[in-house]
């Protein structure tokens, strides 16, 4: 993931790095991006305060206390936290949360496809999308080859079908989401933001 982030952030200067081999810093960072493990968390908070840097954090195993620390840090700098930095998944989630009720009398089923090394089924994202529909519906999990991750939500009545499908092409997804969050952070007011709020600020047109 670290490599993906550095590739996607290539236009920006890396001036602070923290990993298992240690830490180096040659300038004051505007934004700190942390997609590492829980163990790095306390030092990440320290570094943000030390440098007055904004934070983009995708660490998954954080505790309720950690979130409280992020909220208080958000009083001084912009903090963007999410468990899933895929723009498409977050947009799909928002669509389902808002429009599923319009199709409450339609049938609803979810299909997800992932590589054959994935152990859990249904995927966490499938559960998250199902929750966004506000309904309990059948989910189907395919485990095939090297598929990075497809999720399809099907609504159907007697005369029509509406299909909403998200497909991850590679792990770049999350790095691109982190970049979008960082671009938001450099100009944002201090605060504790969900990634959905970042997305809801339509980005300036730029080459994808």
């Amino acid at each position: 993931m670290g490599q993906e982030i550095q590739k996607v952030f290539a236009d920006h200067t890396l001036c602070l790095s923290v990993d298992v081999d240690g830490e180096w810093c040659n300038d004051t960072p505007q934004v700190i991006v942390d997609f590492s493990s829980r163990t790095a968390f306390p030092r990440t908070i320290e570094l943000c305060r030390e440098h007055g840097a904004a934070l983009v954090i995708g660490t998954t195993a954080i505790t309720k206390e950690d979130v409280d620390h992020l909220r208080s840090l958000g009083q001084d700098v912009p903090v963007i936290q999410s468990f899933n930095f895929s723009v498409g998944v977050n947009v799909l989630k928002m669509i389902l949360r808002e429009f599923s009720s319009y199709l409450s009398d339609w049938d609803l089923e979810i299909v997800e496809v992932h590589h054959n090394r994935k152990k859990d089924a249904p995927s966490g994202t499938a559960l998250l999308l199902k929750e966004a529909t506000g309904r309990n519906c059948p989910t189907h999990s395919l485990r095939m080859g090297g598929v990075p991750g497809d999720h399809s939500v099907f609504f159907s009545n007697e005369g029509e079908v509406l299909e909403l499908t998200h497909r991850a092409l590679s792990r770049t997804v999350f790095a691109l989401g982190a970049l979008r969050a960082a671009q938001f952070a450099v100009t944002a007011e201090p605060g504790f933001y969900a990634f959905e709020e970042v997305i809801a600020c339509a980005p300036k047109k730029s080459s994808s």
Copy 2:
């Protein structure tokens, strides 16, 4: 279309009928459904006033003056007017209008598939969806066999793809939309409504 409507409205009583062979009426209608040609329009307005009946009208070739007549009729009874009574297409339109801006830096293309007897390309619905995205994008038209009508909107960036697809299964689509509009009309306040407003009133749960 008339037959489709009668099939879908089977639970309701037909008490007024107007067609080329004439007109009969054996009771006071609550709702009048008109999916016929422009020529029937004046008589339709008369009948609504005469019976105090709500109106669901899908006639396509109506003029600006006709719309004014519908608005004034809407002061006395509920009037629901649309050029497309497909629930799915209208929901897709609403989704695109609201969320396309969140993906303004993603590539966007539209693909539509229709039976090989369809002369125009792209389809009217494809143009309507494109307009809802607020962007000018490539559209691709396939003309194959007996396909009733598929429309796919693809958004993609470097790491992910979001696909929104609507598929019509048969002409029942529009009759089901008319039924939904009629169910709305019997309890609605007088007014001139777009079909989107009907959809936005989440329906009571019922078997699809």
Copy 3:
């Protein structure tokens, strides 16, 4: 089904009809098409012998003895028998039977979608396609709205996915298959043919 057949055979003359209301005949038929129930079977055989007519039969509930009768009839006239007259499903079956072994080290899963009134799962066609792959694989059944019937076979390895999907658009499918079988029958040698043999005789180019 009878109506579908008459619509698709519109360019041909109907000169013999048998149904619950009785039987009429005003000329010698070249081909007799029987998609009715088992009860009609004996009379169908009689009529073919009487008129020297070819037979296209899609009756599903026929017994082993019935098949023997069809074989002996095949010594005098062309007899085409199948439990599924969809050209696409039969072609897909042939593709899977011949090429699945080339992908024996790929993952394989089948997904089928049918209207919510369908009781059985997986569908008979899904089982038939699975058998054609010569492998035991997971099958997923979606039951949604009015979908006539979709079947998708997915092969995948670490780097690629091959998807083979058949979609029925309406019950016309089977009538079109019967027409193709009848066109084959009028010029064929006497014999007992599977529908696959009819398909394998590439048809003369004609508008679809």
Copy 4:
């Protein structure tokens, strides 16, 4: 590509390497894999003769004379040459070559999707699939985000649709094809083989 090959061939020992920085060899190779540029070609032939090694070659820009050299090399060792080492694309090509004639009265269209950096349209693979159908049909090219490469062939008549879709997940595709060719080569008789012939020898079951 060289890196992809080494990753996929990880279970095998690399004992000969040739690149722009030079050449090293610490043992006798069984198979030489060449996916480099035309310039490496003469040396590749020499090395195969020198070591009596089989050859798997995917170099695209080779000349007619080069192919003659490969044929004569094929008299002494197994030589497998192809311009596309994707198993799925080759299987799809074989399916279309064999079964398209069964659907000659169906409509046919091809859709391909590639990343927005791809300049040419339609893709070479789309043209190759079109040629395999033996028909001239419309092709549609979408250029979106980072899509590695999707190709869909649609057949449709009045009542049904048959869709054959290949999706590349990553550049691993071609390395996996090269591995399959190499596994074939170590046990094959000397000869000049197309990759299709390798595929047609159903592989021993192995984890994908």
